[in-house]
């Protein structure tokens, strides 16, 4: 051991570093060789993510090209920001951005308030059987696909046969409504459908936070004669505020991407409803699948990816400041 150290010290400096480097490399190689099996196990997953996720990331360059399938994607001409220039010249870019943000904003605010309300209420059901039962029932809509939801909404809103036009509106003495061509009503309809589908889910998250609150707080509050309302306001809400903050920030990070199924399936892809139901995701889809307009569609898609990415980084930095453990990174 000592011998070798002296030998190394005697060598010219250049050799020495090279030797140290080679030795470090050899050590690293033998380490990899020793754990090759563990390393081999991650290959299928990484290969999959490379194809399914990373190739499309490289594919964002399409937005800067004039796609011509005769030439092939890679040989198509570069056109710089032309696709973006077209996109932002139209009214469309503004409409879809506005719709996406307004819908998601309403979903975040209403969804959070209602979910907290339901979670607090659910925590008041002391009978375990009923608590489970109610929870399962309000969670049921979360389980089903948006296609089925579209059928359910159709049964309610169909112009000729729908339950609203046949039973509810006559009962209220109102005239039938042409739901699927009246764009002005859809912000309310889609918000209702979204809440109906997701409240069960978000309520579970808040319920988990409420259940975690130390019961002693409530016991001593009751000894002091605090009312139910007072306990909720002064114990429950303040103690679940961290959860509320984190959930809200994470949702804001995703405000630029919307639930495609909700906006595509539920309005039955109706053109008449587009002014109020078109969001970035449906716009990109229609551009690609209906018009085959790769330029415009990929430009809108990249616009969404980049702003979405920036928002995620930004909100994550905020979450990190609040609570390191809950930050994504």
């Amino acid at each position: 051991m000592g011998d070798r150290a002296i030998q190394t010290a005697d060598m010219p400096k250049e050799w020495r570093t090279r030797k140290v480097r080679t030795r470090a490399l050899n050590k690293r190689l033998s380490y990899v060789r020793r754990h090759w099996m563990l390393l081999a196990m991650v290959v299928p997953g990484m290969l999959y993510l490379f194809i399914n996720n990373y190739l499309p990331m490289f594919g964002i360059v399409i937005a800067f090209k004039d796609i011509n399938f005769a030439k092939g994607i890679w040989q198509s001409d570069w056109i710089g920001f032309d696709n973006f220039a077209y996109l932002f010249q139209t009214q469309d870019a503004w409409v879809i951005t506005r719709n996406t943000i307004l819908y998601n904003g309403a979903f975040i605010i209403l969804g959070t308030v209602i979910a907290i309300f339901v979670a607090i209420l659910l925590n008041e059901v002391k009978n375990r059987f009923f608590s489970r039962l109610y929870q399962s029932i309000i969670l049921l809509p979360y389980l089903i696909s948006m296609v089925i939801v579209a059928y359910l909404v159709l049964a309610l809103l169909n112009e000729e046969n729908g339950y609203m036009n046949r039973y509810v509106l006559p009962l209220l003495g109102l005239d039938p409504v042409s739901w699927y061509s009246d764009a002005g009503k859809w912000p309310y309809i889609l918000t209702l459908v979204h809440l109906w589908k997701t409240v069960g889910y978000s309520c579970i998250v808040y319920l988990a936070a409420i259940v975690g609150i130390n019961q002693e707080y409530y016991e001593s509050a009751m000894l002091d004669g605090a009312s139910k309302w007072r306990q909720i306001r002064s114990i429950t809400i303040p103690l679940i505020t961290p959860t509320i903050t984190i959930m809200t920030l994470l949702a804001i990070g995703r405000i630029f991407s919307s639930d495609f199924g909700l906006f595509y399936q539920v309005p039955l892809n109706s053109g008449a409803l587009q002014p109020t139901t078109d969001v970035i995701d449906t716009y990109v889809y229609r551009g690609l699948m209906t018009f085959g307009d790769f330029g415009m569609s990929s430009a809108a898609g990249l616009y969404q990816s980049v702003v979405g990415f920036a928002l995620v980084l930004f909100t994550n930095a905020l979450v990190r400041r609040k609570n390191r453990d809950l930050a994504l990174f």
């Binding site: 563990l38 390393l39 196990m41 991650v42 299928p44 999959y48 993510l49 194809i51 399914n52 996720n53 190739l55 499309p56 990331m57 490289f58 594919g59 964002i60 399409i62 339901v118 008041e124 059901v125 009923f130 109610y134 929870q135 029932i137 969670l139 049921l140 809509p141 389980l143 089903i144 696909s145 296609v147 089925i148 059928y151 359910l152 909404v153 049964a155 309610l156 000729e160 046969n161 729908g162 036009n165 046949r166 109906w196 889910y201 579970i204 998250v205 988990a208 139910k228 959930m247 994470l250 495609f260 199924g261 990109v284 889809y285 690609l288 898609g301 990249l302 990816s305 995620v312 994504l328």
Partner: protein, 293 residues
């Protein structure tokens, strides 16, 4: 702890109202599927059928080729997709949970970055159609949902590092077991609750998937049940045009408005019927999913 009975009653009443709101559309759907077609034309979809009828289901069963095939496609992608998805997820998640994995931080980042940035629909579509030539193949229904992104991998990794005792793995290692043996002999059996949870989420996402079929499948023989439902939403005649091989006589009196509802019932029934049995795992999956991300 005593509670005011009026208060208890009010809480229960609120939940009964919410339960009705959650279930009402389903009840309407089921009722409509059992109603006589003429009664629907006269009275609309009603909660209590004006005239009870099994015509819609009789029609579905007499023209069941397409529906059965769609069911077959859905069952196939659900079983194969969930199995493969679980396999690949755990194969990458388990090494990531071990700190001896070479290049661990790079691999973690590689997985994690897929959660942050997406290429978007157009490049995704071109990868599967132009590069892999999977348009109108069963692969297009199977592959895109396999991992979706790195989310389940990260969940499973945390599950492994929390629930698999390091000493157990170490002692097996000392006894001469190799990593693959440790993975399927020790780690997988210990991780059953986690596997059940992630497997259930995968299963539901495959059963409910209509998106991949919408963008990649035009060939009706490859439609999953969700895609068939989706197509019938846009075009009520779809089943009729594609199903009646020479039985034109039946076409004159297809109970369209009820058949539509009956097929939606068939599409959602297996999931709802199984719901009470997997509810516990479903709730668990949603909660762990929400805590991190």
């Amino acid at each position: 702890m005593k509670s005011n009975p009026v208060y208890v009653f009010a809480v229960h009443a609120a939940f009964v109202a919410m339960s009705i709101a959650a279930l009402f559309p389903f009840l309407l759907l089921v009722a409509a599927s059992f109603t006589d077609e003429q009664a629907i034309i006269e009275h609309g979809y009603a909660l209590i059928p004006e005239r009870f009828s099994l015509d819609a289901y009789a029609y579905l069963f007499s023209n069941s080729v397409m529906i059965m095939r769609s069911y077959g496609i859905t069952a196939f992608i659900t079983v194969v997709g969930t199995t493969l998805g679980l396999l690949i997820t755990t194969l990458i998640a388990y090494p990531l949970s071990r700190n001896i994995l070479p290049f661990r931080s790079f691999i973690s980042f590689f997985v994690f970055f897929t959660l942050l940035f997406q290429g978007g629909l157009v490049p995704f579509y071109l990868v599967y159609t132009d590069l892999l030539h999977m348009k109108d193949t069963i692969w297009a229904l199977l592959l895109p949902n396999l991992l979706t992104n790195g989310f389940f991998i990260l969940l499973m990794r945390s599950f492994f590092s929390l629930s698999i005792p390091g000493e157990v793995v170490e002692s097996a290692y000392v006894d001469g077991a190799n990593e693959l043996t440790i993975y399927y002999r020790i780690v997988m059996p210990l991780a059953l609750p986690g596997l059940a949870t992630i497997g259930l989420m995968l299963l539901i996402s495959y059963w409910n998937d209509w998106y991949n079929g919408l963008i990649f499948i035009n060939d009706g023989t490859l439609f999953s049940i969700q895609n068939l439902l989706n197509r019938m939403l846009a075009d009520v005649q779809y089943l009729q045009q594609n199903n009646l091989s020479g039985q034109a006589a039946a076409a004159t009196s297809v109970p369209i408005s009820t058949v539509r509802m009956a097929i939606a019932v068939i599409g959602v029934l297996p999931l709802i019927a199984a719901y009470p049995f997997f509810q516990k795992y479903f709730v668990k999956g949603l909660t762990i999913g929400a805590v991190k991300g």
